[in-house]
Amino acid sequence: MKHLLLGDEAIAQGALDAGLSGVYAYPGTPSTEVTEYIQLAQAKQPSGVQCRWATNEKTAMEAALGMSYMGKRALVCMKHVGMNVCADAFMNAAITGVNGGLIVLAADDPSMHSSQNEQDSRFYAKFAMIPCLEPSNQQEAYDMMAYGFDLSEQLKTPILLRVTTRMAHSRAVVNTVDQPRQQNEKSMPKDVNHFILLPAFAKRNYAELVAAQPSFVAHSEEDGHNVYVRGAKPEKAILTTGIAYNYLMENYDPAMGRSILRVKQYPLPAALIAQMVKDGAKEILVVEEGQPVVEELIRGMVPSDVVIKGRLTGDLPRMGELTPDSVRKAIGLDPLPEHAPEAIVVGRPPALCQGCGHRDMYAALNEVAREYPNPRIFGDIGCYTLGALSPFHAIHACVEMGASVTMAKGAADAGQHPAIAVIGDSTFTHSGMTGLLDCVNANANVVVLISDNLTTGMTGGQDSAGTGRLEQICYGLGVPQEHVRVVVPLPKNMEEIKNVLREEINYNGTSVVIARRECIQTLKRHLKAAKKS
């Protein structure tokens, strides 16, 4: 059947059609739509696929490993920086190996459209010494799910599927199979010790992983995802990976006669690279989306007199995503005639929605903070990061999920007062709770302001893990009940909110202020749904 699908949706449908038993994920652009698609499919036609959001990427990865342990197929989805959160589980899943097929989807965001860095997840596959798949279009993304699960079960290893924003959020027609594969039956691992990473067992496992590397390379060379075509003028060659191939082909003229090696599966196909050199390649242009991963790797795989060009040599931009234009330039073509940019156009940065509770929270916080000589407000990841911009200019730091709480603690340890953390409800349960326990144990002089909009807002309103239980969580972590305060961020409550903030800032110890009002976007959706029913 033919469907018009986003890359993310193609991955989701591919997983369902490949006998998926569970998807585990924390929302993050550009990966969110994979899990949402599976949730919607399960709501329409339930087939017992677990698809509830996880609290963070680490819990997701571990639960998926548990599903795989039981012989079933599991998918973990996250944005690139989520890989850092789940890295402990991910790296060690490479050592335990898998029972049921396990695919880890990492959606990278070069150019940082909606992220704080542009790290390339292919490094993680290399680091963990596992195979990595990098589809170049939506159809391949769909097809690679069945292939990836089969390969994972055959090689007994997790597989990393790496996509980037333009794959994840671009639509194209995808042909799907008529008959989905059945889910795996439950089956225990044949050798339980494989999953017990005591040093004695781990050493044996690691030796097996090292010994398996040549077979991983052989699959890269023989399974048809990596294709080498000798050109009529083979001294100039191009190695291109994933969606970068599309930008190349958008511009490429067959008369150029270059040898082209197209890579969609890692580890790199050493034999195909050797063949390219044997055919006479004196110069290899590496066209890859993301960081110069391949460009660095192949320097150790070809003779030193072969010139390697790419992002490190300035032939392509060192940073940011590729475009048809940057690749066009790299292969020596003149730009298309174009209009000059219009000087009259000004920037239109995103902003908090009108009527959003974060706005009222920041309005109150800013007024109170101004009463102190040098306040420091540590922000976190979510819509409320926009509090850094006009008109609020409210935060003085924002690094990664949960850092607001612990950076405020560190600052308080260094003598800062007031030290205030601003964190959303979903980010708090993702990675803020452990930091709050650190604060409590040290009775750090911080105020943790949880801006609770009852959802994961930035990514479009997914369920938030702690909804309805934030006070209990804070009590449980040891925050005194009288210092867990709840306010409703509305203009009419401004004086009350300011008083609560003042009292807790002046309290010498750890306190929590929860500013709770539903996200205006999910509220609209809920009202609309209620009207219909």
Partner: protein, 194 residues
């Protein structure tokens, strides 16, 4: 047949519904299609765009090269100008003339409109007023804009109307009819000024 289209606007205005209708009609025509969208942070009132590529041959890049777009369709006049680098020298700009004012430094509207008029191939229209005249709600303004772009799309008018009908079918006959009325209003306007 090959059409590269940039859809532009402000997060929340509804450019993706325009893309959905064009996509529906294109697929019925058996055309290849690629559509790159913007999700995430920019959707909160920031500038948004979508690259829509239609072709009778397979399409490689998800992104339109600079100087490659046949058409910019924009729900906001300044946003139309944001992407002129991507427009072919003889490409069309079809845009609403109604500004979306959510920034303090929005340029003088008259100057923005003058810049649009400086392009030989442009259709500038008040989509909200035309929607109202056609008896359609304000939410159908994007369908007026779609209608105004039909003459440049390379897909027959009747096939586009059929696409509108299919996309809105599950919302009932009234919604289908008001949206078609909105599309026709835009279409007729574009024919009258072209």
């Amino acid at each position: 047949m090959k059409k590269d289209i940039i859809l532009a606007g402000v997060g929340g205005q509804g450019i993706l519904s325009i893309a959905t209708v064009i996509g529906e009609a294109a697929l019925q025509e058996g055309l290849y299609l690629k559509q790159a969208e913007v999700h995430g942070m920019s959707q909160r009132g920031g500038d948004v765009q979508s690259n829509l590529r239609l072709s009778s041959e397979p399409i490689m890049s998800d992104l339109i090269p600079k100087g490659g777009a046949d058409l910019i369709i924009s729900l906001e006049p300044m946003e139309a100008l944001r992407y002129v680098e991507y427009l072919k020298p003889d490409g069309w700009i079809v845009t609403s003339c109604v500004p979306f004012l959510n920034i303090p430094n929005y340029p003088e509207l008259e100057k923005v409109l003058a810049r649009i008029k400086a392009y030989e191939h442009h259709v500038l229209l008040d989509v909200e007023a035309l929607a109202k005249e056609a008896g359609a709600p304000a939410q159908a303004a994007n369908m007026v804009l779609l209608g105004a772009a039909i003459p440049m799309l390379g897909i027959d008018h009747d096939k586009m109307i059929a696409g509108v009908a299919r996309v809105f079918a599950r919302k009932g006959e009234t919604v289908v009819n008001t949206n078609i009325a909105a599309v026709e209003a835009g279409y007729n306007y574009a024919l009258s000024v072209r």
